[in-house]
Amino acid sequence: MNEHKRLRPGEASFGYVLLIFSLFLLYHAFAISGFSSFSSPGVFPMVAASVMVVSALTIILKNRTAPKEETTTFSHRLQLFHIQILPLKPMVIYIAMVIGFMIVLEPFGFIPSALIFLFVSFWYLYTKGAVFALVLSVGSVAVVYALFRLVFKVVLPEMEWLDLDTLAWEI
């Protein structure tokens, strides 16, 4: 609960990002119905967005009084940010892999995309070799598919360009 602890790398900038985001939301909240009446649909969104703006401003002011890092050069702060908050390995690369998984999810379908994603993930994060990653990913997808698709009847994305049901019907 110490309010005056040292800021984490990028924390001060994050406060400004939140402020800009809050102002953007406030602008759009005002656009809903303006100040037409106390019970209009835009009142509560405006109140919530205003609270966000005020909180973000308070956070920025508090951050300004917090103890500063000894090194204040921009490049060093950026370096610290990359080491402690958003390291390229594994964080950025892995987030990119997750985004890739989600992009191919619909066109490729769940089974191939999850299989590739898990294989690459285990290979990259666990570093126990390709065979181990392959066995683990095939096993995992099989369990997830059997449990959720076959037992829980959850609908999963299927290949857009290969309609298995129609194919089976034609055969």
């Binding site: 984490r8 649909p41 973000a56 892995y94 285990f122 959720f148 609908v155």
Partner: protein, 496 residues
Amino acid sequence: MENPISYFFMSWSDPYLLMMTAAGTFAGVYIGAIPGLSVTMAVSILISFTFSWDTNEALALMVGVYMGGVYGGSRTAILLNIPGAPSAIATALDGYPLAKRGEAGTAIGVATVMSFIGGLVGILVLALAAPVVSEFALMFAPRDYLLLAIIGILLVGSLSGESLVKGVFSGSLGVVIGMVGLDPLTAEGRFTFDSITMMGGIHYVTAMIGFFGVAEALAQLHHLETPVIKQKLERITPKWSVVKRYIPLSIRTSFIGVLIGALPGTGGDIAALMAYDHAKRSVKDPSRKFGEGAMEGLVAPESANNAAVGGAYIPMLTLGIPGDAVTAVFIGALYIHGLKPGPMLMIETPHLFWFTVGALMLANVFMLIFGLTGVRLFIKLVECPRAILVPLILVLSVVGTYAIQNNVVDVYWMLGFGIFGYFLKIYGYQVGPVILGVILGPLMDVNYRRAIISTRENFGDFLLEMITNPISALLSAALIFLVISQTPMWKRRTVM
């Protein structure tokens, strides 16, 4: 008409429900025990799979996960000094020193039995108090619900986070997310940016999975190199003489747990810490010094955090106000199954209340059974590396989110919330208030508008009613006190 209390035994007598409760509790114990997996995360993901299920089956499973998960967190706290759940933070203080002394088995055994006693007390209080609170809550006006919801969000923000202002920001952000879509009263678009996809709103389960599942998984990437600590475990069933010695303390701290758990915004973590503090101050002759492996330091938090489960259900079922992040997720589950938690729940669907109480009791029994058995399997699962867990959590999050509306856009939202949630977490903003805001935002909006319309849009009268009506005045005073108590001026005064 069938007596609603007969539903108490439904989960005990129906083999399928019995199995669901057992499976949920089993899963909860292990999910709670694996560092990196949280009960909130598990319940969030589970909810999306139970959409098409029968309400009772879904409730039985989730009640089991909740009860088992709160207990499961204690195991890693004892064995690895890593609390599996926030409610097990206090458990680690004396649990880990006990394990270091080679008494891990006894510590786990005692923690299991005390969790059972705590759970029992919590459920009994829930069964007795909820009907009374519900009766009282019928007197609540829309403005009171508005005040209660604001208090709930602020409490979660202030008690669990670094600062109140960050909690307020998170809560307001959640309210804005909850507002996205068409206004339920006028069908006017809010934050839709003229997109048809946005008009349906953002499903709260999508936000839950993003903020809890994905954000947590990304945060775990920082700990991939953490080595797996291995502990030897033999017999864990404790001797009756040991259990008997700590029963009075367990019952005392269970009541603390249930009371703290029943306050909106305070969950098992606060309850456990307060119970630990109580034990430290009240036990004159502990088995060892507190912090060095005192059994009392293990008994108190373990009894309190499981008692808080029953306590947290009281405001959730009677007022529709979640006690903490997990109960917020539970409220989401109830809505999905067409139920509206609040005072009318006890009138319209009393059988559901008694079913929940019965399922909780059953889950408590299963927790005792699973807690005292399966040690070998447990050790294997706890040793599962994070490099395997993280990708699996992400795949389950995708499956869970897609299952909500069979729409890949939800999956994109989930990832967006996940990445944003990661930054929030890393910079000390709690994500619990965001979820409370998403769920309570639309309710707050509707109740505010009902309240202001009832005063014919006279804002002065609206404010006057806040202080002239006894219930509203009490809630307004609590809200003001909550805000003032977080100001630096007040904190300085209390320190002096």
